[in-house]
Symmetry: C2
């Protein structure tokens, strides 16, 4: 019943290939960044714990000069733990807080132009995100051979659909406030 998912993120990414903590951090940004993030303060302690629990092992510890690079790999025990977690039901409603929607909801207390600006900024942000997603989608299309491909493209598509819905909503909402 641990709520912290950091360990599973690490285990999951290490099924792709052995990596260092630094690599994991970067890879999070490049792959699951649109619905997940981890900070160093979570990541590095989790790596140490996973080694203690024998779910991952430190394969190589390179020292070129004094620069360290720790290469971690998932163990069979780790794969087991990951699979167990993948089969578990998600628990509890965790409401996604959205400060902008909160401000919009209280829009009566601000000038319409303030709220319009709020929405225009959201629109711009979402647009940029959508463009990024579409670019990544193109790159992904060249990697159809990977066994990960289907799952990666589906999770990306989720971001795309959301962004499109959000964009449409922003545009309609801006119009509605300008009229009303």
């Amino acid at each position: 019943m641990t709520k912290q998912k950091t360990k599973f993120v690490i285990l999951g990414l290490l099924t792709i290939e052995p990596m260092s903590g630094y690599d994991i951090k970067k890879m999070i940004g490049e792959t699951i960044g649109h619905f997940w993030s981890e900070s160093n303060g979570q990541l590095y302690p989790a790596l140490i714990q996973l080694v203690n629990d024998r779910l991952i092992v430190l394969e190589e510890k390179q020292k070129k000069g004094k620069k360290e690079s720790h290469l971690y790999a998932i163990t069979d025990l780790g794969r087991e733990a990951l699979e167990t977690w993948l089969g578990e039901d998600i628990e509890g409603k965790n409401i996604q807080r959205d400060e902008e929607l909160l401000k919009l909801f209280f829009g009566k207390n601000a000038s319409p132009s303030t709220t319009v600006q709020l929405l225009q900024k959201r629109e711009k942000r979402v647009k940029e995100k959508l463009d990024q997603f579409l670019l990544i989608q193109k790159e992904l299309a060249t990697l159809t051979t990977s066994p990960h491909h289907l799952y990666w493209s589906l999770s990306l598509k989720n971001g795309i659909y959301r962004a499109q819905a959000e964009l449409r909503w922003c545009q309609e909402s801006i119009q509605a406030i300008k009229k009303g």
Copy 2:
């Protein structure tokens, strides 16, 4: 640069009408529940602080027998603080974590049926939510006179659009995994 938004939620809701802490909690669930939540551990201390800061006042403290009911109202200072916050830019990217998408992304490590089940549960949940939203939308349609109406209906519509996009994605993804 406070990150805690609880105070603004309280201020915002008190612009509708004076309320008790209990009322605020309930109202959160009934209005902004699809993108916001507050726990008692945040709410009650925040109310006390807001009184200290003169942003709200305790209008009535009813004691029928020993049952207490505190009725709070927003002050002019409170309205000012709210308006200031409404005009401020949102800061920092807070990535919305989504455990189900995380599991999907790591789908290669599970059986397709496990992942399909995951998505079917999501689909069911989203469907129920969408139905709720559509019901609320009908109720809202009867309150067109309120100055809040436009903003409330737009924030609700955001939930509806998202849910629809999510639903479509769930259905397509389930099909894609079943085929692939």
